[in-house]
Amino acid sequence: MQEFICQTSANPSLFSAEGFVGLIFLVTIGLIVAGALVATCARRLVRSVAGLALCFTGVAGMYYFLLAPFVAMMQMLIYVGAVAILIAFAIMMATPEEGDLPGRRISALAGPLGFATGALLFAALTVLAIRTPWQVFPREGSADMKHIGTVLLTSHSMVFELISIVLLIAIIGALVLARRGRN
């Protein structure tokens, strides 16, 4: 029990409410894996962006399972609604006529070596996550929206202000970069 931090160690049947929730969680994991697979392996970039949106939808579902519905909603709004659409716009504006780019990197080793690196990192992080005895602290605060807002604007208010400055600079920088060269 020290190695596997589980809230309950029940064994629900498939037709109970808990079992159905577990089934939905497995579907969520399937969405994430399928989306990441399409996002990294699809030849055409449009399919890649669609896979990215699918993967982000699965991650939002996972946030819902982590008892954070507000962050799940923000994930849908910001990632699926803004970032994926922004990348789709970039593909529409900055892709050559033929659409897909056939062929691989000039170095033929980039694909296999990249796969080996990714698989090695995945295996190492998995072993690390399972072997480490994570220390559990007792709960102090609640996770409702009111408490999040209070913490965000009191103990993290400096970061909150800094992030707004970062976003402002990003907007101005994006405008300057994208407008340069246009006459």
Binding site: A36, T40, I91, G114, F122
Partner: protein
């Protein structure tokens, strides 16, 4: 650990985060276009967010801090995506290509 009880275990979320990170690194190395690499870097950021949220749910004392950190990661990712897309458009305007093999002017 039963298959239908996976959503109550910390390790499930950590393994999913590691999987997203592995996919992101693989895509960063093997993709040939700048936009493909941008998509893969978004996967890496999503992996970091999943890890923060998992530890926030299972081990952290105050469950608001991890959510706030994830919101900050989202803001940084949105700013990064906007900057990267404008750089992609500027590169495309100058080179008529987003292939990383074509943007090699400084290559000796």
């Amino acid at each position: 650990m039963h298959l239908l009880n996976l959503y109550n275990c910390l390790n499930t979320y950590l393994v999913v985060g590691a999987l997203l990170f592995g996919f992101g690194i693989y895509g960063l190395v093997s993709r040939r276009t700048i936009i493909g690499m941008l998509i893969s870097s978004e996967l890496v950021l999503a992996a970091a967010s999943v890890n923060f949220m998992a530890f926030n749910r299972f081990t952290a004392p105050d469950p608001a801090v991890g959510q706030i950190f994830t919101l900050f990661i989202m803001a940084i990712a949105a700013a990064e995506a906007a900057i990267a897309v404008s750089i992609v458009i500027a590169v495309y305007r100058n080179y008529k290509s987003i292939d990383t093999e074509d943007i090699v002017d400084l290559h000796g």
